[in-house]
Amino acid sequence: MNSAAEKKLDPDQINVILATDCGSTTTKAILIEKVNGEYRQTYRGEAPTTVEEPAADVTVGVVNAVTEVGELAGRKLIDENDEIIRPAQGDTGCDIYISTSSAGGGLQMMVAGVVREMSAASAKRAALGAGAIVMDTICSNDKRLPHEQIQRIRELRPDMILLAGGTDGGTQKHVVQLAELIAPAKPQPRFGGTYKMPIIYAGNQEAIELVEDVFDEDVKLTSVANVRPVLERENLAPARDAIHDLFLEHVMAHAPGYNKLISWADAPIMPTPGAVGNILQTIAERQGINALGVDIGGATTDVFSVFDGTFNRTVSANLGMSYSISNVCASATLPMILRWVHLDMDPRELQNHIKNKMIRPTTIPQTREALVFEQAVAREALRLAYVQHKEFATTLKGVQQQRTVGDTFSQATSGQSIVDNMKLNLLVGSGGVLSHAPNMHQTAAMMIDAFEPEGMTVLAKDSIFMMPHLGVLAQVHPAAALQVFERDCLIYLGSCIAPRGFYRAGKTCFSYQITGETLNESGEMLCGDMLLFPLAEDEWATVTVEPRRGYDFGEGSGKRVEFKARGGTVGLVLDARGRPLMVPTDESRHLAELNSWVEELKLYPEVIRELTP
């Protein structure tokens, strides 16, 4: 659908690259220029995304963000007609313009499968893997009466429906029965009154004709390979690809002004989560490591993981820092958020602050209190999104999952999560609240608290939120994307070393010895302690840890382990708070410990106030 895909680009002729990412809240623009024969990211700008009145045109936000970049760079990028100037000549214009977008909002889907634990579970995984919000799952054994199921389909108005059921060559009756439920409900799509509701059929291939007979011309039926061709195997890719295609065709295209954006771009516009996933996979492959990435946005929190070569992605569409901030608080509860707040705050006021952010999503914290609170909310949004990711990323092998017959009736317990914090090598944070935190110690602390890494984990952040841009650039100019990624994108924050094991008040957790060029330290960590040692970027240190019984650094309970720790802008963090991480329930002790962590990690140093007019 992207006409831009047909444009021919000569990589050698590209010196100035302009890239934008139209998020749900903010449109970000970056400029990449060839400096001394190498591509470098040089300037960046941002502006509110303009999907609402009076603009109601996503390209208005793009023009504003690009104008800001142009002003900072001293390069005229927008002409008198508010269009991007191409090609670059002197101090004017750019050679290519590319973009990612998640401005149209999340994809809201309904899935239907014959049995909840089997085909419906596979269909749900396919939908989640495609980045959709699964609004409801209809199945034969969901304990609702048929008319209740039909009423539900009518009320939800999803963007599309995925229907699965039956193994290939198996019984056809049940999946046709499901189709017969969906067809008379005559579901109406959320966007637009002209297009037909897309329904993807990914069930028993021998029932395709029967299913087609059930639906009339009111829907757009697409048949793809079965998500569960045999009981023991999943095949999610065809359904996931079909969802992706229909998402681009239907949902994203309904963001106001999106067609205009397509006509501007020199490469197909990619959904933001797709672009970030591409880049994380590249990192993991190139370094041969297990990596976890997170992109926390205004409407969604996307988590990506590569463990033993297997890539998984989840989009938690109701966990974000602006449009869905209230949902984070409703899901996590205020006390869980306040366990990360070391300042005295009035809960009633906080609840109102949350709602005010929800209704005016583009605002930013001006005071320190507001920042501390938003970062506390972010910890919970990240934690909840990670829980969802771990539940999704069960024992899949690539896009296919082998299951035994014994597993099929107990998905929740049989599918082991392949996400293992002990095996995690690199944790990368991206998105406004992580990328734009005033100091990098805050970014590191948010990631440690939310993801609870175990053993030794290197922490990094997307310097200025450019992973989506580079993800799409990698499709058209891989060399430029790689150069910018290595030089300007990732900022290494340091390493976190923490054992698995429960917090035991007053007990010693582990002893440590650190040797390096600039660092020679040793000591004991009590349960609840955190220590930060400066260890510069490009510097490495040998850390030997000896845990007490009940604590494990990856080699077993009480076993000594030696790590090669990488430094960074924050340094080396030793964390003896226990895993799973639990804060003391006694309020005064909790506050004392929280304050000690804040102080040790230098999270909120006094800043110079420059705001007096």
């Binding site: 009145e53 009076p54 909002g105 009154g193 609840q351 209704i359 005033p438 800043v607």
Partner: protein, 377 residues
């Protein structure tokens, strides 16, 4: 950078406004272009397919699904009444026949030989669309609906609960910063659009629901009160389908916050006028704000001149009126002063583009550009 984009809420004394009134599924448009319509007049209607009832005939008369079509005593398209004999099995040698009767009335939509299931569809459900805004039919969209246009006083709120409603504007508060409390509401407000000042309290909303007021409009409300009224915590700002007994609109935000003076004064000017209110809010791609639409009466049409009806370009510039929408100055109004180009360090430690706001009190404050919105109209 001397300009920035920041949309705001519209508050217009006199403007040409149009409402698009569309049926959810195709139907009949009942009015013609040029026709004058009243707010509650039905301008289009259709019938939605009725509720469906699946009946597993195969199970009920104990036959194989493939035999069901032959056992049916009605065919697709036939109407059945409660108690009608739907199907009868052939039995064994003509004996031991099983039968099943219809428990609901409707039309046979399909008979499946694969599942043995019959889908019975109930009587069509009528769906009607009202004009919402009194005015002239400007456009008819065949089979879909109409566009109504008229000169109105138009005000947007920031968040609403509940859908469309109509009534006369009546004030309960005497000033923009007076909280709307329960004792300010009385029986005379039944069916009215009640205007408060600052925060509407939970008891006031409950009292309004008891009295049957059409809508309550005020500056702010407490999150805790909203949670209690709804019975759940609002996760995302997508509203309009709540049925709490009245429609609520807050014009400024959550907390103890006074209504903007301009909004309060404009509503005061239109006290006693008939208005249409819609609390539907969607703060997401394709935003919808709650609104109050008050058609102009003859005296106003003659006495005032129309305001600029084109939307403002959404540009922040020196001199334009703004509302600060984030702490520590949340809710204060003023106008844009200087707009420095360089980034400034905020108290939070973040670097941000800022601007100076000259408050109505004369005080000057510096805030991030993202933390103001235009007062439009």
């Amino acid at each position: 950078m001397t300009q920035a984009y920041s949309p705001g809420l519209q508050v217009r004394r006199r403007t040409l406004h149009s409402s698009r009134r569309i049926l959810p599924i195709p139907g009949d448009v009942l009015v013609q272009v040029g026709e004058q319509v009243t707010a509650q007049q039905i301008v289009a209607q259709t019938f939605m397919p009725g509720d469906v009832t699946p009946i597993n005939i195969a199970n009920q008369i104990s036959v194989a699904p493939s035999e069901v079509p032959a056992c049916m005593l009605f065919k697709e398209g036939d109407e059945v009444q409660v108690g009608d004999l739907l199907a009868r099995s052939k039995g064994i040698f003509g004996f031991f026949k099983s039968e099943t009767k219809a428990k609901t009335a409707g039309t046979i939509e399909s008979i499946s030989h694969v599942t043995g299931q019959v889908i019975l569809r109930g009587a069509p459900l009528p769906i009607q669309v009202q004009a919402y805004q009194a005015g002239t039919v400007k456009e008819v969209i065949p089979e879909q609906g109409v566009v109504i246009e008229s000169e109105v006083t138009f005000l947007q709120g920031i968040l609403g609960i509940g859908g469309e409603t109509y009534g006369t504007i009546q004030f309960a508060c005497q000033s923009k910063d007076q909280p709307l409390t329960e004792e300010l509401l009385d029986e005379s407000m039944q069916g009215k659009i009640v205007i408060g000042g600052a925060r509407m309290t939970g008891p006031a909303v409950k009292r309004g629901i008891e009295l049957g007021v059409a809508a309550i409009v005020s500056g702010g409300m407490d999150d805790e009160d909203l949670k209690e009224i709804l019975g759940y915590d609002l996760g995302v700002a997508v509203t309009g389908s709540e049925h709490i007994g009245t429609t609520l609109i807050i014009t400024e935000g959550f907390g103890d916050i006074a209504m903007a003076e301009r909004t309060f004064n404009l509503l005061k000017e239109r006290e006693g006028a008939e208005a249409a209110v819609n609390g539907t809010t969607q703060i997401r791609a394709g935003v919808l704000r709650p609104e109050i639409v008050i058609p102009l009466d003859e005296t106003m049409t003659a006495a005032t001149s129309p305001e600029e009806t084109e939307v403002t370009s959404g540009l922040l510039e020196t001199g334009v009126p703004v509302r600060i929408i984030r702490d520590p100055y949340f809710g204060l109004l003023g106008e844009v002063g200087e707009m420095p180009t360089e980034l400034r360090t905020l108290e939070s430690g973040s670097q941000s583009r800022v601007l100076e706001v000259i408050l109505h009190s004369g005080e000057k404050v510096i805030v991030p550009r993202a933390n103001v919105e235009l007062i439009e109209g």
